[in-house]
Each structure stands twice: as structure tokens, then as C-alpha cells.
């Protein structure tokens, strides 16, 4: 019996021509052959840089008609800090403790309050108490226990540390006893209502604290900001310095305090410092065992916005909004143009597995947007920083890692937004509707998040649950509860942590893409 020699037909072509790589290549070819899209992506990078430069160029800091040459002190943690207070101190050489009783903390304005209505007076974070500080230079390490305007007793250290103690305000009827004890580089804060029963408020470890430090009494009070009128994205406010005056008695020292008298220093007062008139008249008074100390300023991390002296590095990224809009247009058209021109039928005929088509599109447009965003952000951030410095602004220092996160995060933000636009475009199949929708869901919450347009809570929720949350990836300095400030997006603060906000945007993009794949499979093209 002879076996059949008939062999089945085999094509000479190499197999594997319908792989995912081919799909990617097809989508990439589609992208590069539409001139408008390539121009659009280049334009996105360009407007990101140009608008960023425009917005940074509009920040000029002038001192007496000239560009300022001020610097900002940097704390032990590397962050910019505010370190301005009235200090009545003695050297402490080794271990020891200081105990005082605070009988009063009152406040006032350092300048006449404009408008005549409302009084600033004592601020919630006006503070006075005892402090152990490395030296009298700004930005040096410290630990302090204090009474505050309306946040009770606090233990604070190294500018960012903050621990709550017993609540309540201080008065002659209900004084507060405070104690700081140093043992090596560990400092413990205690509080008491009667001087007998003490509670531990907190412990701070100041690494590398010298043997000889300065310790004593302090008072300070941050500036107030009061909103006078608000328009869309433009809030006018008045602000001014305030003054806190504290009365201390029952000062007792234990441990290795060298002999000497109390010295009074205004920390943060250079030769050119402009002191409020109340400070100039005299801010320290000692009679018997009673010390009266007045101060104006703050011991806290520096913040961006009206309450802080400097700018954040992400100021240079304001143009990312424009880049986002351009990339959203390209992303939406990447799919809607196929529907419009009828190419979708050819595409799906060539690659019947529809989900892979959309995945390939998402990868191509995401990668293109990422590269464009990276080019734009990596140019805008250093250029903007330089421009801000040249205009006399203080730019808050951040770690290189944070800077990389901001630049790469912005690129990723634009990439995910382009993918979201692609998904929306595939869902609604109309470019105008898709582009309008994505701009509204990303831009409008940001605009509405300015205080007093919506209530603060509503605005914060909008920034948590809408795709606008993704811009949190650009936040360079954290929000501090111990500093009163307008923590709004226009000042660079978002309610969610950077990566959490970005994850919200990613969720939207994933849901949109998933829905688009389901619809693409189900619907007739």
C-alpha cells in the first residue's frame, strides 16, 4: 500500500505576521502619517514649556524696587523653614531641664487692620513656651514645648515634628506648666496644669545635637490672611503680621547651666530686618521672677502661597494644562478619526481581535504623550526654577528624587490623560464630545477648588474623586497641619497624596479603556 505523497499547501510567508508587535507597528504608522497629530504632540511639549515660562516670568519679587537677594533658611530635614521668633535664652552645657509656668498668651496686630472690621489678634498657631535650640542661627535643630492660640499644648521639633498635648487655652485662672528635659540628644516635653502632676507630651531625638546649646523662653505669632473678595480663580486677601505676648513665671533650671544672665535675641533678625513697631519699642521685660516676651514670626516649615515667602518648583509646570488639552485632542482623535474616515473597518478586518487593537492604540498614544510630556516637563522645571531665582524669588529646595517624581509624574499624567481621552473617544465615537468631556472633568474641578467658589469640603472631594486628582503628582512640598495656609491647588496643594491622586486618574483611564474594549467588541463598527 502506497502512502499518499500529497502534502498540504504551505505559504512561503514567514508566520507570525499578525502578532502584537505588528499591531503596534500599524498603530505607530497611523500616528506618524497624520501630520496634524505629530504637530500636535510637538506643540504639546512646546506649550508646556512656553506657558510654564510665561507663568514663572510673572512672579517677581522686588525689595525696595530691586530684585530681591533673599535666601530662605533650611531646616535639618533639608526643607525650607520659617524661623523667626523672640528668644530669651541661656546656654545649656550638657544635660538639664527647664520648667516654667505660662499664665497668659495674648495677641494683637502689628499694623492697623485694614477695613476696620474684624480683628486678627491672637492666631490659632500663635505660640509661646520653652525651647532648646542648637544655636541662634536660623534653621538650626530645636525641640520646644509651647502653648498655642487655639491648639492647646504642643511639642514641636525640627520644624516638621508636631505632637499634641493637653488641649485648652491658657489664662491666669488656668495656667500651664511646661517642662523640657534634655538627656544627650533626646529631649522630652512635659505639661501640667498645676505643676505637680505631669504628663509626657512627646520625645524628640535631635541627632548630632551639640553639648552646648541655647535654651530658654520664646514667643512668636504667624501672619494672618483674611479673604476680602473672591472671584473665579482669583481671591484677594489682606494679610499682616500679628504679635503674641506671653507671661512666664516660676522659671526653674536644673542640670548643667553655666552661670550667667538671660540674653534676649530676635532670631531671624538680620541687620536689615524690618521689625514691627511693637517689637522695636521693646519686646522683653523681666521683673522679679516674671518674664514678658512678645514675638512675631513663626517656627515652622515654609509653605507655598500667601503664608510663605517662596515658590515651589512646580510653578514652572503650569503649562502642563495646555499640553494636556492638546494631547487629549490627539488622543481622542486617534480613535474617532478612524470612525470618521472608515478606517476602523479596515483595521478590524486586518486585526479581528478588537481588544488588542485598542490596547495597541493605548500603548502608542500613551508612549508618545509620555515622551512629549517628559520633554516638556524636563525642560520647563529647570528653566522655570532658574527664571524664578533670577526674578528674586525663593525656590523651596526639594530632594532630587522629588524633582524626578514631579517631572516623570507630569509626563505620566499627560500619558494617562491621553489614554483616557482615547478611551472616551472609543466610547462616544465623537471627537468633539470626547474632548469637551475630558477637559471638563480635569480642568473644571481644579478651577472650582479655589476656596469660596465651592465650600472647602466639596472642593476637596471634587479633587479626590475626579480625574483632576492626578495633578497631585506635581505637589512638591507637603501640607502641614501646624501652619495656617490656603492649601489650594493654585498654591500647589492637593487633598490626596501624590501617587494616590495619580492612581485615581489611572483608575479612570483603566475603566474608560475597559469599557471601550467591551463596547468595541459588542458594537458594530
Amino acid at each position: 500500500m502506497t502512502t499518499s505523497t500529497l502534502t498540504p499547501y504551505r505559504s512561503d510567508l514567514r508566520p507570525g505576521r499578525d502578532g502584537f508587535a505588528q499591531l503596534l507597528r500599524a498603530e505607530w504608522t497611523k500616528f506618524t502619517t497624520v501630520r496634524g497629530w505629530v504637530i500636535g504632540v510637538l506643540a504639546a511639549a512646546l506649550v508646556t514649556v512656553l506657558l510654564g515660562l510665561v507663568s514663572t516670568a510673572g512672579n517677581n519679587a522686588t525689595c525696595n524696587g530691586q530684585i530681591c537677594r533673599t535666601t530662605v533658611p533650611v531646616g535639618p530635614g533639608g526643607e525650607a523653614v520659617t524661623d523667626i521668633f523672640s528668644f530669651v535664652h541661656r546656654p545649656l552645657d550638657g544635660n538639664g531641664s527647664i520648667t516654667v509656668r505660662v499664665t497668659s498668651l495674648t495677641g494683637g496686630n502689628t499694623s492697623p487692620h485694614p477695613g476696620g472690621q474684624g480683628t486678627a489678634g491672637l492666631q490659632p498657631w500663635s505660640k509661646a513656651g520653652i525651647i532648646i535650640k542648637e544655636n541662634t542661627r536660623q534653621g538650626s535643630a530645636y525641640a520646644a514645648i509651647m502653648v498655642t492660640g487655639s491648639h492647646g499644648v504642643r511639642m514641636q521639633y525640627n520644624y516638621t515634628g508636631d505632637t499634641a498635648g493637653p488641649a485648652g487655652t491658657v489664662s491666669t485662672a488656668s495656667p500651664r506648666w511646661l517642662r523640657l528635659a534634655r538627656s544627650g540628644d533626646t529631649i522630652t516635653g512635659y505639661a501640667s496644669a498645676n505643676g505637680a502632676a505631669w504628663t509626657t507630651v512627646g520625645t524628640a531625638r535631635l541627632a548630632g545635637l551639640s553639648r552646648a546649646v541655647q535654651a530658654g523662653l520664646f514667643a512668636t505669632s504667624p501672619a494672618y490672611t483674611q479673604v476680602t473678595s473672591q472671584r473665579l480663580l482669583s481671591t484677594s486677601s489682606t494679610s499682616g503680621g500679628t504679635l503674641a505676648t506671653a507671661v512666664f513665671d516660676h522659671v526653674s533650671l536644673h542640670g548643667s547651666w553655666p552661670r550667667g544672665a538671660w540674653r534676649a535675641s530676635l532670631i531671624g533678625g538680620g541687620p536689615n530686618a524690618q521689625y514691627p513697631v511693637q517689637i522695636q519699642r521693646g519686646w522683653y521685660h523681666q521683673a522679679g521672677g516674671r518674664f514678658t516676651v512678645s514675638g512675631s514670626g513663626d517656627i515652622a516649615p515654609a509653605v507655598a502661597g500667601a503664608a510663605g515667602p517662596g515658590q515651589t518648583i512646580e510653578r514652572g509646570l503650569a503649562g502642563a494644562w495646555a499640553g494636556l488639552i492638546v494631547l487629549a485632542v490627539v488622543g481622542a482623535m486617534f480613535i474617532t478619526a478612524e470612525y470618521r474616515r472608515g478606517l476602523i473597518r479596515t483595521t478590524l478586518a486586518a486585526s479581528p481581535r478588537r481588544g488588542r487593537v485598542l490596547a495597541a492604540k493605548a500603548i502608542v498614544i500613551g508612549a508618545v504623550a509620555f515622551v512629549a510630556g517628559l520633554a516638556g516637563a524636563a525642560t520647563a522645571v529647570p528653566l522655570g526654577q532658574r527664571l524664578l531665582r533670577d526674578n528674586g524669588n525663593i525656590v523651596y529646595p526639594v530632594t532630587p528624587l522629588t524633582e524626578v517624581r514631579i517631572v516623570v509624574g507630569t509626563a505620566a499624567l499627560l500619558a494617562v490623560a491621553a489614554v483616557l481621552a482615547l478611551g472616551l473617544g472609543a466610547i462616544v465615537r465623537r471627537s468633539a464630545a470626547a474632548v469637551a468631556a475630558i477637559i471638563v472633568v480635569i480642568v473644571v474641578p481644579y478651577i472650582l477648588a479655589v476656596p469660596h467658589v465651592l465650600s472647602v469640603g466639596t472642593a476637596q472631594w471634587l479633587l479626590r474623586i475626579t480625574p483632576a486628582a492626578g495633578f497631585a503628582i506635581q505637589q512638591s512640598i507637603p501640607q502641614y497641619p501646624q501652619v495656617s495656609n490656603d492649601y489650594t491647588p493654585s498654591n500647589g496643594y492637593y487633598p490626596l497624596a501624590p501617587w494616590a491622586g495619580f492612581a485615581v486618574l489611572c483608575c479612570y483611564a483603566a475603566v474608560a479603556l475597559g469599557l471601550a474594549i467591551v463596547l468595541l467588541r459588542r458594537r458594530d463598527a
Binding site: 494644562w321 488639552i325 485632542v329 469637551a436 477637559i439 473644571v444
Partner: protein, 377 residues
């Protein structure tokens, strides 16, 4: 001369009629207009319900609060206006429109006029509803006579200015969008440009700390300047006076319309926009709109009656999907032709075989681009 002006008026009237029919029969129009009204009223009511005035001198502007919805509904107006011309470019309808009405300025003017009328009507309803909502809600939120507020009333000069100005604001946004869409011929790009113009100025102004820069940005931004018309209190702190602000927006709209109109006149309507020239068009027999017959069209002279059977339609390079010759699907001029095709100026009236001027259906073969794969060609 009088005949010429009559012809001009007649063509304008017919253009208006055609544009009105197109816009009326497009299904999206009525939904977008309804959305303008609903969104404006809803957001305004929400804003009025969210605000409180605890004491006298709380610095709030009740008229502006009750007109907050405009800030969102302008997006819908922009989409509507962009689609008025962008939709024609995306479906190729623009070629039919221009074949029927070769005076391009007239076409654009007619589109602008119809759009203005529609947005005026919808905007007026939306603003009236918003003011009514503010009048009903705000007194319960502390905006009482005891705190120095009278109930919102259109009899009040500044409130009337804010309300009427908000309607005009929407109209100007529509015209700005129409101009931008005419210039770029692409709905998505036009929406991006218009919304970018509206929202980017305030965002940039917000991160600029220099008050002069900020003020200038607010003075030239179409949204921040135009919305100054809504302010009834604190006029002194505005970047520019209410009517001047609306004037800035009007200048933007005029510039966009002018640029769009010039490009519309100068450019080929097909360039970059027609299916046949776009890179994403699948390769298939190229179909062109072509005048069949009528030699000597460019010769000036007395109007001639076209030969019997003359029609405007698809060149029969291939039979239609149903096998019928394509010339039979064209439009037939009823009136004489003067010059064709050099300046494309037939003055006659065209009737449409489909009798409906929807964007995708008139005269162009309806199923050519919008349905499933065709294997025949």
C-alpha cells in the same frame, strides 16, 4: 443693481433657511440646547444653595452666584457651535453646502446668524431660570434685607445687566467657537482650542503672583474678562469694567470669525478634511463631486438652461453598492447656471433628493461612509 442686491438678499435668505434646516434636523442640536438650559439652571441652583451669608457685609455677589452655571454651560455652547461647521467637515457635507451656496461669506454669516438666534433663545431661558432659582434660594441662605440684600430682580439695573450680559456672553462664546472651528476644520481641535483659551488664562493667572501680570492676564482672557459682566458688587476691584470685559470677549469672537472667514474663503474646502485626502482613508475608488455635462461654463454670457439630464452627482467611476449608476443620485438644478466650476456660482435653488438637509444625508450618498464594510469596491 437692484436685481443684484435682491439676489444677494435672496441667497442670504435661502442660506439662512438651509442652515436652519440643517441645524434643526441634526439630532444633537436639541439635546445640546436642552443641556445648556438644564446645566445652567442646575449648577446655578447648586451654587446658590451652597453659599451662605452669615452677616451683613459678607462680600458676596448674589447675582454672580446665581449665574454660576454659565461657567459650565459655556462648554456645551462651544460644542454646539463647533459642531455647526465641524460636523459638516467631518461628514463631507461641507462640499454639498458649498456647491449649493458658493458664496462662502454668506454661508458663514448664515451659520453665525442661526447659531446666534439659537444660543440667544436657549441662553435667555437658562439665565431666567438661574435668576429665578437665585431669587428663591438665596434669601434662605442669609441673603436677606437684614444683611443688606434685596431679592434678585431683573428690574434692578445691575442685575439686568448681569443677566442680559450672561446671555450675550454665551452668544459670543458660540461665535468664537464657530470662528475657531471654521479656521481649523476639525471639531476636536477646535474644542481643544476654545476650551484652552477659556480655561488656561485663569489657570495661568492663578499661579502668577505679580499683581500686574495677573491683572493683565485677567484683562485679556476671554473668560475672565467676559464674565466681568456678571459682577454687581465690588466693580472697583474688577480687572476691567463689565461692558469693557464683554468687549474683550467680543474682540476675541470677532478675531476668530474673521480668521475663520478669511481661511474659509481662501482655502479649498476639501483640503485636509475630505475623506479622500486624509491619510486614514482606506484605499478605494476615489469619488468626486463633479459637474456632469455643461461645457463652456466659464464663459460669461447670458444664463443658459442646462441640458436635460444635467445633474450634480457622483462620477460613475463605479456603480453604487446597490449597483445603480451613481449619476442618478445627484441633485438637479432648477435654475440656470452662470459660471461653473471656476468660481462655483450657480444661483439656482437646489432640491435635495432626500428632502432633508441633515449633515450626513443630503445628496451625498448616505451609506457610503457610515455603514459596514463594502466588499464591492
Amino acid at each position: 443693481m437692484s436685481q443684484a442686491s435682491y439676489a444677494g438678499w435672496a441667497s442670504m435668505r435661502e442660506a439662512l433657511h438651509a442652515e436652519w434646516t440643517k441645524l434643526r434636523t441634526a439630532p444633537s442640536t436639541i439635546w445640546l440646547l436642552a443641556a445648556v438650559i438644564a446645566l445652567t439652571a442646575a449648577l446655578s441652583a447648586a451654587a446658590a444653595a451652597a453659599v451662605t451669608c452669615p452677616s451683613a457685609g459678607c462680600g458676596q455677589d448674589p447675582a454672580k452666584i446665581s449665574l454660576t452655571g454659565i461657567e459650565l454651560s459655556q462648554v456645551i455652547v462651544a460644542v454646539l457651535a463647533v459642531l455647526v461647521i465641524g460636523g459638516e467637515y467631518s461628514t463631507g457635507m461641507i462640499r454639498t453646502t458649498l456647491a449649493a451656496m458658493p458664496r462662502r461669506t454668506t454661508v458663514l454669516a448664515a451659520k453665525a446668524a442661526i447659531l446666534t438666534g439659537l444660543v440667544l433663545a436657549a441662553g435667555a431661558v437658562a439665565v431666567l431660570a438661574s435668576v429665578l432659582a437665585g431669587r428663591l434660594i438665596l434669601p434662605g441662605r442669609g441673603f436677606t434685607p437684614a444683611h443688606g440684600f434685596v431679592p434678585l430682580s431683573l428690574g434692578d439695573g445691575p442685575v439686568l445687566r448681569a443677566a442680559a450680559g450672561s446671555v450675550l456672553y454665551l452668544v459670543l462664546i458660540a461665535l468664537l467657537s464657530l470662528g475657531a472651528a471654521t479656521a481649523v476644520r476639525e471639531s476636536a481641535a477646535a474644542i481643544g482650542i476654545v476650551l484652552g483659551l477659556l480655561y488656561l488664562f485663569p489657570i495661568i493667572a492663578a499661579v502668577v503672583s505679580d499683581p500686574h501680570w495677573r491683572r493683565h492676564l485677567e484683562q485679556i482672557g476671554p473668560m475672565s474678562a467676559g464674565l466681568a459682566i456678571q459682577a454687581t458688587t465690588g466693580l472697583r476691584s474688577l480687572p476691567l469694567s463689565p461692558w469693557a470685559g464683554l468687549g474683550v470677549l467680543a474682540a476675541w469672537a470677532a478675531a476668530a470669525l474673521l480668521a475663520g472667514g478669511l481661511l474659509f474663503r481662501l482655502r479649498d474646502a476639501l483640503g485636509g478634511a475630505g475623506p479622500a485626502t486624509h491619510p486614514l482613508t482606506p484605499i478605494c475608488p476615489r469619488l468626486t463631486t463633479k459637474w456632469v455635462g455643461s461645457p463652456n461654463e466659464s464663459a460669461p454670457g447670458p444664463a443658459r438652461k442646462p441640458a436635460a439630464g444635467t445633474s450634480c452627482g457622483w462620477s460613475p467611476s463605479a456603480p453604487g453598492p446597490d449597483g445603480s449608476p451613481r449619476t442618478s443620485r445627484g441633485i438637479t438644478p432648477r435654475a440656470p447656471v452662470r459660471r461653473w466650476p471656476s468660481l462655483s456660482r450657480p444661483t439656482g435653488r437646489y432640491s435635495c433628493s432626500a428632502r432633508r438637509w441633515t449633515r450626513s444625508r443630503c445628496c451625498t450618498t448616505p451609506n457610503l461612509w457610515s455603514t459596514g464594510p463594502t466588499s464591492g469596491w
